[in-house]
């Protein structure tokens, strides 16, 4: 198989980059080791669109965060992805920390934020915005342009758009080695050999391993595990903004934020780990998360947890994003070290990668005449009015059969998720696309029904349906 460009890694960066490249007459492959898009860092992070005051001035992180956040609303609107500009608050608990707020404010200005997008609040103003904030809070930095987005929905949407415009998505396609011969990369993958003129390395925590395959040893990813708790919708309005504490050396600390779907996310911890393929959470993870979160909002309780999870962040030893042509081969573009604020920066990163490709491309990139920047808008029964639901079911009865009770997800939506341009192939894929199984019962009731629908739509036996590909089987042989 021959491609102009092979993108390694179908996270949010790889997928948005693929979408960007799909505007041009290029043969592009989006290559993914896992069974789906968004199945590593992009599925398990805070989902925060940071305003951009936190990153160190002059870094790529600072520049691309500010640019990315500016672009986020537009990208999300075009792709039918929920994005809410709810603003963020960095809460201070002492006079020293109020000084830190002032530094952050100044840093924001230096990084290019509008002065009127930020405001330092006293306690009274803070309590007005966040009645549940700790009595120990003395003030906060309000940042009006910060927001929340669903990271995996953005990734799925970008990949669907790319696929609609001709990008080929290759799953279960781990790259084992890369050769460069006759001005062409030859990738040896789990699905056979793939040739490409250019490679974009968006392999997340594995981006250093991929770069090493062409002799580029400049990247050094030390993955950091972030552990989170997700709280039930019944406490969904405990906070109205993204609530941070003052940042430390190890990152932005534990945050509390509403999610676009009405839950509350609490986390992350920050733990340096060795294993790049396991986001297993530690035994005291949840109690640590809540201990820290209770400093900001004392009423938040572990009892409201519906699930907990871990995610790895692709932290590079330089602490900055590493984006650019490799010194080992200029046709190999690294997009590595994309830790926080990677999600916020992602639309700008994708544009920057396109610029780099344009600058090194042999010849002119030619725009397609029929490029569609959007995707088919997914049907979300749970968000519809009764009148809309009535009309929808009248058109297609599959939307009248509710499979996931907790999140009110219909059979029609699950069928759509499986048959979409980058369709779900496993239970977690359906979950990320439709929310079936994301609710309080955590798929206790709908799990087997989702498997039945997958089995039917994909025409494979039910005991071959996995949780997330690979050996994540759910059922074994038939009973006696």
């Amino acid at each position: 198989m021959f491609y102009d460009v092979a993108i390694i890694g179908a996270g949010v960066i790889g997928s948005l980059t693929a979408r960007n490249l799909s505007q041009y007459n290029l043969k592009v492959a989006l290559i993914e080791k896992g069974n789906d898009v968004a199945c590593a860092t992009s599925k398990a992070n805070s989902g925060i669109v940071h305003a951009g005051f936190d990153a160190k001035p002059g870094t790529l992180k600072a520049r691309l965060n500010v640019e990315g956040t500016k672009k986020m609303a537009d990208v999300c609107k075009t792709l039918f992805v929920p994005f809410k500009e709810i603003g963020s608050l960095v809460v201070a608990f002492s006079d020293d920390e109020v000084e830190t707020l002032k530094e952050l404010y100044q840093r924001g200005i230096t990084n290019g934020l509008d002065a009127d997008s930020m405001e330092i609040l006293d306690r009274q103003a803070l309590v007005k915005l966040e009645p549940n904030v700790s009595p120990d809070a003395v003030g906060a930095l309000l940042s009006k342009t910060a927001g929340i987005v669903c990271p995996y929905e953005l990734t799925v949407a970008a990949a669907e758009c790319a696929a609609t415009n001709g990008v080929e998505f290759l799953r279960n396609c781990g790259v084992n080695s890369i050769k460069f011969e006759n001005d062409m990369f030859i990738l040896s993958t789990e699905q056979g050999e793939i040739s490409a003129k250019y490679i974009i390395n968006a392999a997340g925590v594995h981006s250093d391993d991929i770069a090493k395959m062409i002799g580029d040893n400049s990247i050094n990813i030390t993955p950091r595990l972030g552990e989170y708790a997700l709280l039930d919708k019944s406490v969904g309005n405990v906070v109205n903004h993204v609530i941070f504490q003052c940042p430390t050396e190890m990152g932005k600390g534990v945050l509390i934020a509403p999610t676009v779907d009405g839950n509350v996310i609490v986390g992350p911890t920050t733990v340096e780990v060795d294993n790049k393929d396991s986001a297993a959470i530690a035994q005291d993870a949840l109690s640590n998360v809540f201990k820290s979160a209770n400093k900001s909002v004392p009423s938040i309780s572990m009892r409201n947890t519906i699930t907990s999870f871990g995610g790895l962040r692709a932290h590079d030893v330089t602490s900055d994003f590493i984006i650019g042509s490799s010194n080992a081969n200029k046709k190999f573009i690294n997009v590595a070290g994309i830790a926080s604020p990677g999600l916020a920066s992602s639309p700008a990163i994708a544009d920057y990668v396109l610029e780099i490709l344009q600058s090194i491309y042999d010849g002119e990139l030619e725009k397609k005449s029929d490029y569609n920047p959007s995707r088919t808008e997914p049907i979300k029964f749970r968000e519809m009015s009764d009148e809309q639901r009535r009309e929808l079911i009248a058109k297609n009865k599959a939307y009248g059969r509710i499979i996931c009770r907790c999140e009110t997800v219909t059979e029609g939506e699950i069928i759509d998720a499986i048959n979409s341009p980058v369709g779900a192939r496993d239970v977690d894929g359906v979950k990320r696309r439709t929310r079936a199984g994301m609710g309080r019962c955590q798929s206790g009731f709908c799990g087997s029904k989702v498997m039945e629908i997958l089995s039917r739509e994909l025409n494979v036996p039910i005991n071959e349906i996995t949780k997330f590909g690979g050996k994540s089987d759910i059922l074994y042989e038939r009973t006696k």
């Binding site: 035994q283 009764d386 009535r390 599959a398 509710i402 997330f468 050996k471 994540s472 059922l475």
Partner: protein, 428 residues
């Protein structure tokens, strides 16, 4: 124009029963017996019967029918009666909302969007299992962790094995039943771990499901970590102290491919919360009177949505009360001369249902309650103020077994409005 007017019209029923499990069916049948005209049962599964359909073991009906039946057999006795009656049934139908005016909105893939104006509503939605997320278990998100009830459905309904080497966390009845079921299907059940120092299940299930198969029951023991990246490869268990904290040094790795959870049941009251009825924080079900009427007149609740039962027989009895209550309400909605006294769990009693009783009741009233711990050679005492109404001795009280006490008409006469009826456990 196929049925445009029909689609938009609102159906009118005297009684809408939400849920077609044992609770919903018994309530509907009892309402019918007491003269209610138009009744409809809305059930979200493909068939009536509720969770009984996957409970293929026996042990059902000993109290109510005086014979030992399997779950489906017990259910089918009621399904047949419903089918013989003129009660309407819609299966594969999900109620998505109810209003305080008792307008019920449901959807299915046959009729589409359904709106029903009901004189009375019986909530009989049952309960769900607590999931892993509610527990603080470390480790990966590997496949092979599921609730015991989900595994039961895979094995008994779908005919597939969810694992070969099994550890079960939680000794509730479903966990115990599944220990035996998986063993009979050829899996190796390594152990059942129970966080508490006693089992939450029925004694007969411990004997018949664990002891008879030499499956160890590890008390004061929990699972603290799941190992494996794709599929579960093992777990770490540990002993806990009296405050349920892990005792360091007792951690032990157990190889397995499956962890089944039987760690508690939660009444499914999401619909009840839409109409703002009073809820009991202990039962997680609505607050009801002796007819199982909630704080919103015309809305009743019974079965596991009201309180988690250990025996379906008690569900049936409770639901018949709700069915009768609904019938009385429908025949005369505005005739309420109730004067209430309130029940309260005293020492050693977690909760009592009903939470309030009409002292003008013309019938005796049975109170159902659960104890908070295991008590040996004790008695329960029902009292109002200083006056003891009932005293009953028992060899053993256990949280897994529901107890009851009956207030006779004579006793009710002694109770005044707003009195507190207290049940406590005392040493003999």
């Amino acid at each position: 124009m196929k049925g445009r007017s029909k689609v938009n019209s609102t159906l009118k029923y005297d009684l809408v029963v939400i849920g077609g499990g044992p609770a919903g069916m018994a309530a509907a049948l009892e309402a019918k017996k007491n003269g209610v005209g138009k009744i409809i049962i809305l059930e979200r599964a493909e068939t009536l019967g509720g969770i009984l359909e996957q409970c293929i073991h026996t042990g059902f009906g000993l109290h109510y029918f005086g014979e030992e039946l399997s779950g489906p057999e017990y259910a089918h006795k009621f399904i047949e009666l419903v089918e013989q009656s003129d009660i309407d049934v819609k299966t594969d139908t999900m109620v998505i909302s109810i209003s305080k005016e008792r307008m019920v909105t449901a959807v299915n893939n046959q009729d589409g969007f359904i709106q029903i104006d009901a004189t009375a509503v019986i909530l009989a939605m049952g309960c769900r299992e607590r999931a892993r997320g509610a527990l603080d278990i470390a480790g990966s998100r590997a496949s092979g962790v599921m609730t015991a009830g989900a595994a039961q459905k895979f094995v008994n309904i779908d005919g597939y094995m969810p694992g070969k080497k099994i550890v079960i966390l939680g000794s509730g009845d479903i966990g115990l039943i599944m220990a035996r079921r998986m063993t009979l299907e050829g899996a190796q059940v390594k152990m059942v771990c129970e966080l508490m120092p006693y089992s939450g299940g029925l004694t007969r299930n411990i004997v018949q499901c664990l002891d008879d198969f030499d499956i160890p029951l590890k008390l004061s023991c929990t699972v603290i970590e799941v190992h494996g990246t794709e599929r579960v490869e093992g777990i770490t268990i540990a002993q806990v102290d009296e405050n349920r904290n892990v005792i360091d040094g007792t951690q032990e790795f157990v190889e397995c491919d499956t962890l089944l959870l039987s760690v508690g049941l939660i009444p499914e009251n999401e619909l009840s919360k839409q109409i703002d009825i009073d809820m009991d924080p202990i039962t997680s079900g609505p607050v009801v009177n002796e007819m199982r009427q909630t704080s919103l007149p015309g809305v009743f609740a019974c079965g596991n949505v009201l309180q988690v039962h250990d025996l379906v027989d008690y569900v049936t009895t409770e639901s018949q009360i709700a069915g009768l209550g609904a019938a009385k309400y429908i025949s005369n909605p505005n005739n309420d001369d109730s004067r209430y006294a309130f029940t309260k769990g005293g020492d050693g009693v977690r909760y009592i249902v009903p939470q309030k009783v009409n002292i003008n009741s013309k019938e005796e009233i049975k109170l159902y309650f659960r104890v908070a711990d295991v008590y040996l050679k004790s008695k329960f005492v029902v009292s109002v103020g200083d006056e003891v109404l009932i005293e009953k001795r028992k060899q053993k009280f256990a949280p897994g077994e529901m107890e009851n006490a009956t207030l006779t008409l004579e006793m009710l006469e002694k109770i005044k409005e707003n009195d507190e009826i207290v049940i406590s456990i005392k040493e003999r």
